[in-house]
């Protein structure tokens, strides 16, 4: 293999085949992908969840993960929070010529590690190489399909007054880790990204069925914006307590230094569950038994008003409305 990816690797000719056979396909091989047909034929029945996401993170490698891990986990998580059991993924790579082959190899390695760990299979894919400057090193798109069990009715529009809001752990880890991973920041922040596949955590609680009203993973836009989305979709008010939201000390300090609010900083392995009040404690207990949900906590509840506001009760007893994130000044983080 060449040391760097060349335009010719995306030509569709011999070099493309060599790249795919030697570097891209081996780690993610399975009988469906191996057929190398123009599309994969899948045998599925029942309700299907279908989603897609593109990943443009800078830098490609950050403490606790890389763009490959992110691309697999991101799509698995979008399926999982709808109650679906993730089955198949597509994987599309847009590579800027000049990307070190070793980098691509490392990224493919984390993709295969994640698919192996979750049992989700990549069944179709595409590779393109573009001129230098037409992309930033590597962009990945993944789409995913999962099957949704009967008896579930999970949606951002289903939050009900009285619902308890459960958060699966500390916030802001991913955003801060990526910012720390940017070589240009001249200080070290001891935080790793929380990037993780949430399908085992959601599978653990799916048996609670209709008691789970809404689930979402608070990714790029952070906890505050995700709660706002649900409050507005469900036309309810949400009240959360500052003191019950777990934040790592290092994340807190880094946010202070960078002028950020952890409520608006990205996560890639956290789950928010809006659960019926009478089942919330049992769901919380179940989540705490999963390593990914060890620090789960009830952080607030849904109120009956219809203004779509999210209100934060501060530690000293004041309240303020927390709005959606406005604008975007941060580096690309997912």
């Amino acid at each position: 293999m060449d040391k760097t990816i060349l335009l010719a690797h995306g030509s569709g000719g011999k070099l493309s085949h060599e790249l795919i056979r030697s570097l891209i396909a081996p780690g993610i091989a399975n009988d469906l992908l191996n057929r190398m047909d123009d599309s994969a034929i899948l045998d599925i029945s029942g309700r299907i969840a279908f989603t897609t996401d593109s990943f443009v993170v800078n830098p490609l490698f950050f403490p606790g993960g890389d763009i490959g891990k992110l691309a697999v986990c991101g799509t698995i998580n979008d399926l999982s929070v709808m109650g679906a059991s993730p089955l198949y993924l597509s994987l599309s790579l847009i590579i800027e010529e000049g990307l070190p082959t070793a980098d691509l190899e490392k990224i493919m390695h984390s993709i295969s590690a994640m698919t192996a760990a979750t049992g989700v299979r990549v069944v179709t894919g595409d590779t393109k190489v573009v001129n230098r400057g037409s992309a930033d090193k590597l962009f990945i798109n993944t789409a995913g399909i999962g099957s949704v069990p009967d008896g579930l009715n999970i949606s951002g529009a289903n939050a009900q007054p009285g619902d308890q809001i459960i958060l699966s752990g500390t916030i802001g880890d991913h955003g801060v880790a990526v910012m720390a991973g940017r070589e240009k920041l001249r200080f070290k922040i001891p935080v790793e990204s929380d990037c993780a596949p949430l399908n085992s955590l959601t599978a653990d609680i799916i048996s609670f069925g209709q008691a789970i009203h809404s689930m979402r993973d608070p990714t790029r836009v952070g906890l505050a914006t995700t709660l706002n989305e649900i409050a507005s979709q469900s036309q309810v008010d949400v009240v959360i307590n500052e003191t019950s939201i777990p934040v790592k000390e290092a994340v807190n300090s880094a946010c202070e230094l960078l002028g950020l609010d952890p409520l608006y900083v990205a996560n890639e392995g956290k789950l928010i569950v809006f659960a019926a009040a009478d089942q919330a404690q049992a769901i919380l207990n179940k989540m705490q038994q999963n390593p990914l949900g060890r620090d789960s906590a009830i952080i607030g509840e849904v109120r009956a008003k219809h203004s779509g506001h999210v209100v934060l009760k501060t530690a000293v007893g004041a309240s303020r409305i927390i709005d959606m994130l406005s604008g975007e000044l941060l580096p690309r983080i997912c």
């Binding site: 003191t243 609010d261 501060t314 530690a315 007893g317 004041a318 303020r320 406005s326």
Partner: protein, 360 residues
């Protein structure tokens, strides 16, 4: 996010302020960082009605004049220039455009966290000229000064700085001398004071008989500052109290101050809403003239001045609150800002809009 002990201490300080405050007082928080923190903590809801807080001109992006913004945009359009800037500045509207729009038109504008990143760019792109936009108070100026010293050492002639830095005490003096608003006490900036120390504020109690407290940005810091001001005013005293002892010494940070001295000279500066204030800006001195973008590029943009109806100027002087502006929350929102106070994370309008929803 604060812990249990801090919460308990905070409650104690709030009670103390309630106990001590008998007469109505108006306290100006100079710094935009304080405005944001006060609103974020919901402090206004917790203080007695006798204590009124309002913001001052302490948001570096906000006080940059439209003319200077136009100058920066014109600079970004010069051939062969990479403009390095802090993120907040990107969206500030000038007379015709913004840096963000200039970037979308294909000009090379990059967001940096520190001037040292811009210096790296100059090293890596010798065929380009990297211009660092020097905006900020005494806090950001020392790192820009350090970058200039380094550029001189390495003879990096393709590195330039457009210095629009501002100096805090002279503008406070201008506000007090104008006497436009009643100010009983000043919450002095935390980070600026870590550089300049406490002494430059001595004229405030001695000439104007106004109490000062230098505080940090945590809940306890701010409460301690407010408590000290209330106590001083009730007892008829006016002093400069340091309620931020972990970071501020009376004499300031001598290393940073000597950096400033070696690179800059003090000059008059244009403040949005306030006008020209003598000895309130830093200009690159003669020794470093070859790194001065203002010298290198002769920029005289044709500006139209302030956007119609925008009250940023009055808000920066503490004459009005954001809610007094008829654009606030209507045609001027963070997604579509009309004036700079709605753009910057430290801008009073943005802070009131984002955090002030519940009688903040």
């Amino acid at each position: 996010m604060i812990n249990e002990i801090e919460t308990r201490l905070a409650r104690g300080l709030i009670e103390e302020i309630h106990r001590n405050s008998k007469h109505p007082v108006r306290l100006m928080e100079f710094c935009g960082g304080h405005t944001v923190a006060i609103l974020k903590f919901g402090l206004r809801q917790l203080l007695p009605p006798t204590v009124q807080l309002f913001s001052g001109p302490g948001c570096p992006v906000c006080v940059t004049s439209v003319r200077d913004i136009d100058k920066i945009i014109a600079l970004s359009q010069q051939p062969g220039v990479i403009t390095a800037t802090f993120g907040d500045l990107l969206r500030v509207p000038g007379s015709h455009s913004s840096l963000q729009q200039s970037r979308a038109m294909g000009n090379d504008i990059r967001v940096v966290y520190s001037a040292l990143e811009a210096l790296d760019m100059a090293r890596q792109c010798p065929e380009k000229t990297v211009v660092m936009i020097g905006i900020g108070f005494e806090t950001t100026a020392p790192t820009i000064a350090a970058s200039l010293l380094q550029a001189q050492k390495e003879n990096l002639r393709n590195y330039k700085v457009l210095s629009l830095h501002k100096i805090t005490p002279p503008v406070i003096q201008a506000l007090l001398a104008a006497g436009e608003v009643r100010i009983d006490g000043i919450i002095c900036p935390g980070h600026v004071s870590a550089i300049i120390g406490a002494r430059p504020y001595d004229f405030i109690p001695s000439r104007f008989n106004i109490a000062c407290a230098i505080t940090g940005f945590k809940l306890l810091d701010i409460l301690e500052g407010i408590s000290s001001l209330v106590k001083q005013i009730e007892e008829g005293r006016a002093e400069v109290v340091i309620a931020y002892r972990s970071a501020v010494r009376p004499e300031g940070n001598l290393t940073a101050l000597s950096l400033l001295d070696s690179v800059f000279e003090v000059t008059g500066a244009e403040w949005r809403g306030i006008g020209r204030v003598a000895r309130s800006g830093y200009k690159i001195n003669n020794t470093f003239r070859e790194f001065d973008a203002a010298e290198f590029y002769k920029l005289s943009p044709s500006g139209q001045g302030e956007p119609a109806g925008c009250l940023c100027g009055d808000i920066l002087r503490g004459v009005r609150l954001p809610a007094d502006c008829r654009l606030f929350g209507r045609s001027c929102i963070p997604e579509h800002p009309v004036g700079p106070c709605m753009v910057s994370a430290e801008g009073a309008c943005s802070a009131y809009y984002l955090y002030g929803g519940l009688n903040g």
